[in-house]
Symmetry: C2
DNA sequence: GTTCCCGGACAACCCGCTGTTGTCCGCGAG
DNA sequence: CTCGCGGACAACAGCGGGTTGTCCGGGAAC
């Protein structure tokens, strides 16, 4: 399957003859003829009815044409995806399970036309991500940033755009399984388990949260994958973990896990978008507007954030 | 833009290393490495971070990946589009302006998932179209057929599935421009103009229609394209033409053409689907069901058809 | 009917890309 | 420190795709 051959096929179709198509493509008529002949041989069908005054599409050619055009568009997008200046908005969401990814998806659904490349810089710390933004390989990163607005590198801008409310995730045999809501004060006697944390960002956040309300939050311990974690949670009478309201975990029906909103106050996880100050991607402004509207709706709620986020 | 290189890129991404991907593709590790290196050179970006234990995607690689997969899917569809046995339902609509094309579009919108290739066998008479169906290059043709159910070639099945109601198309200065409906009897004094007819099918139909109601229908005369025709119609105080209710012509607002339903009785243009009896395309059954439902709703109306269609 | 010319196909040739084999190197694990 | 995995580089071979040159068929003009 040769894209050049397909491109030649489309060009010949549009020109109605090989000679003109070949001129268009900057090759000889013989080369164009060979390309199409090879394509026909590979596909096992005849695409053109050759006449003395040019060519006409056969039935197979007609059926192929829209798919051929689609292939060329796909090839064009492959190139555009990595061409600085005319590529989609490229934004990092850290992980596809947490709020930034889902918020971006909601934005995309409201703006179906826009070109968007979502990448997950798993295992890249904030410094590495900011370096990618500075270097231009990334248009923005959407993540927690303890030092927001203070030590963001020169040339970058940041904006706190989301407060992701915390919920308690517990199995059906946990003492709080049937609570409609819980308060931080009610959690002092229940250990919170957040294994697999390696990033300093969330660890610092949970340390502060534990200190503020006298909670026990265990951020060490081995991580055997999210599936193992959820299974263990479902079986346990003691374990509970925090998850963001905007996060998304899929689990089997049989696990019967519950998300219980935390209130009075609601700990929220502050998330920021960080982008290059000079020459930002045009679509980014739309996204920031979208986030602004979304964020404003949550102002005035009874929330808790660590000192460094205030 | 080489599809094999993109396929290699995706394979390496999935395998996490060149060696395994190369085995998968049946080439040597060196060849896979070269393909990806070429792709990187052409695109001007580095796609993989090479480590001692395999490779990891860079940001550019991550952004490229979904587009690369899309390209492979498009290439797959190009092949499938002409591969007998696993190709989309391929159906001929004669012209994209008339009812069959629009009905197929409505069907497609109700069944967005199906694979459909609509071809327009312009300038192919019924015999040629039926030959394509018999030969297997077409799954079906959707057209008028005077001899429906009588002289359809052996091995084919046909079904009258649509009665396309006639409407009168006139410009704003035509005497009937403001009529809400017209009857055939009221049209005896108004010449009907249907230029550019070369197919025996519609010519025969309009001859019969003219004879049945004493109309004057001119099916000869030069055809300078549909745009010229509509422009002339808009300017004329005398000219009128018939169009099918299911047809679609776009004209500038300024033309101010009107479609006036013809009633008491309504001449309808019978359209049939003709398909291969043995081993028909599976989607065709759905389409015929769809047409059946649609057709049943029009039964009992006050219609006229030529003798040969009864 | 004859001639002309356009447009496509075929043939021969040549270049360069892409694959192979063979080898080296770097890095992580033991 | 050593081993081995995995990737890169080098040299070479084969062929795929490009070019030039030529022929052929059919529509248009006379």
């Amino acid at each position: 399957m040769d894209v050049d051959a397909v491109r030649t096929f489309v060009a010949v179709t549009e020109a109605g003859q090989f000679q003109a198509a070949a001129d268009e493509l900057g090759i000889t008529q013989q080369a164009a003829s060979k390309r199409v002949a090879n394509l026909e041989r590979k596909l096992g069908v005849v695409l053109f009815a050759r006449t003395a005054r040019g060519v006409r599409l056969t039935v197979d050619g007609q059926a192929l044409l829209p798919h051929a055009r689609e292939l060329l568009r796909a090839a064009e997008r492959v190139t555009a995806a990595v061409t600085p200046g005319r590529r989609p908005l490229r934004i990092d969401v850290v992980s596809r399970r947490i709020a930034p990814s889902n918020i971006l998806q909601a934005f995309y659904q409201q703006h179906p036309g826009i070109e968007l490349d979502v990448v997950a810089l798993t295992n890249a710390d904030a410094t590495a991500a900011l370096a990618e933004v500075s270097a231009g390989t990334l248009d923005a990163t959407f993540r927690s940033l303890r030092a927001t607005a203070r030590t963001v590198p020169a040339g970058l801008r940041s904006s706190r755009v989301v407060d992701d409310r915390h919920e308690l995730l517990v199995g059906p045999r946990h003492p709080l399984a049937d609570a409609r809501t819980v308060t931080p004060a009610e959690l002092t006697d229940h250990p919170i388990w957040m294994p697999g944390m390696s990033d300093p960002e969330p660890i610092g956040y949970y340390d502060d949260l534990a200190k503020a309300f006298g909670l026990t939050i265990d951020t060490v311990g081995p991580m055997f994958g999210i599936e193992a974690l959820l299974a263990e949670l479902a079986d346990s009478t003691r374990l509970a973990m925090f998850v963001g309201e905007g996060s998304r975990y899929l689990w089997p029906e049989s696990y019967d896990l519950r998300r219980i909103p935390v209130v009075n106050p609601t700990p929220v996880y502050p998330l920021s978008v960080i982008w290059r100050a000079d020459n930002p991607h045009p679509v980014l402004a739309d996204f920031l507007d979208y986030l602004e509207t979304r964020y404003r709706a949550t102002l005035g709620e009874d929330i808790w954030t660590p000192d460094w986020a205030r």
